[in-house]
Amino acid sequence: MTYTKRFDGRKFDQLRPIEAKVGVVKRANGSAMFKIGDTIAIAAVYGPRKLYPSFLQEQQQAKLRCLYDMVSFSVTDRKRPGPSRRSTEISMVTEQALLPILDLSKYPGSVVDVFIYILQADAGTRCAGICAASMALADAGIPMKDLVVAISAGKIGGKICLDLNKEEEDHPEGATDIPIAILPREGKISLLQLDGNIKREELIEAINLVKKGSQEVYDIQKQALKQKYGGKK
């Protein structure tokens, strides 16, 4: 094990500091900001609303459409404006991460649009986006049976860690990056991606680390929602 102390001094199962706020885009039906370490994501929900063209409409329920992108200056090496292959893939997996908890049956033929933008990127951006989107959907009043929590786990120098930052992701000896989204009550996984080099037992360890860490995020998301709606702290 060549990674004995994390670059920023955190424990291996410790999350970076988190800030969450609901209702940050006034024109949207629902919106939220989620900040973890130096990664900042904002999400806005519009809908249910009319879906054009009509041949895309679904008969039994509303359609969910997610768009994830990064602002050009959110990263060290400028990202050219416009959808990239990476943002297209992330949009898709984000949609699949959020669908299991949504009840879209009341609005057949409509669309619920979720827009996620990364304003500052320091690893874990798709996870931050999903956390923000989850709060934004609740803020918009879309019926949902739970929130979604997403955190990345990873393997660096043989050690399994929770919530990698950019420095860790870029570790010279290589890091395995595992973004995971979890439905907190059921404990089921709705997003799972991996790139790196890992054994089966290590992967299960990583998933369990995320499960444990998700409670903290879940509490923060709930708090942020209650704060906007006047609930007690």
Partner: protein, 254 residues
Amino acid sequence: MKDYIKSLIEKDLRSDERKLLEWRKPIKVEIGVSKKAEGSAKVTIGETEVIAGIKMNVGEPYTDSPDKGVLITGAELLPLSSPDFNPGPPDQQTIELARVVDRGIRESGMIDTTKLCIKKGELVWTVFLDIYTINDAGNLIDASALAAVAALKNCVFPKLEKDKVKFGEFTKNKLPTKQEPITCTVYKIDNKFLIDPTTEEEKIADARLSIAIDEKGNINAMQKGGLIALTVEEIDEMIKIALDKIKELRKVLK
């Protein structure tokens, strides 16, 4: 309804109790809102929110200006910021916004592009300025122009090593800037002029005139929008209004 807003404006009133030539409150400028950018700023005018950020790189100059750096301004009216914006390539409104903001900065001489030259004819700095709307509650042009200027004012050079940029490492050298242009867009509804419209006021406006003005009171850029034609007297009046109203924005920028 359209008539309700017009009936108020006829009496010099607005639905948010402002005067016709009054900016919304608060007007906020925050610097350094995005840490990976060489420069960034967020501007809030009322509920309208816009962010601007700068990334810098080096490259070859244009052949017709071998000793000048390059400024490229882009904008995105994010679908996140309004139910009226759709994802996709930039439309006319988006491109107009980027070009109008760019014109004000370029023509005011805010950035002396000769100072961005590293090796004449071979290597110059390129400044990528990108503007993103976060919440559209009206008057995106003025908010975007202000955010762009604030971001440029607080922009630092990244580290340069052997003619290549070391991304992620910043120097303490600020981008040299002079003349700061401020834009004020004056709107005409029936026979009244107003500034800083809300979304519903924008939708019923007959015409608008965006005017970028530098610290000496010189007009650096103008753009007329809207379907109704203006008389010369009206244009003169609108310029007078802009000259006066930019003072408040300039104070916030300092």
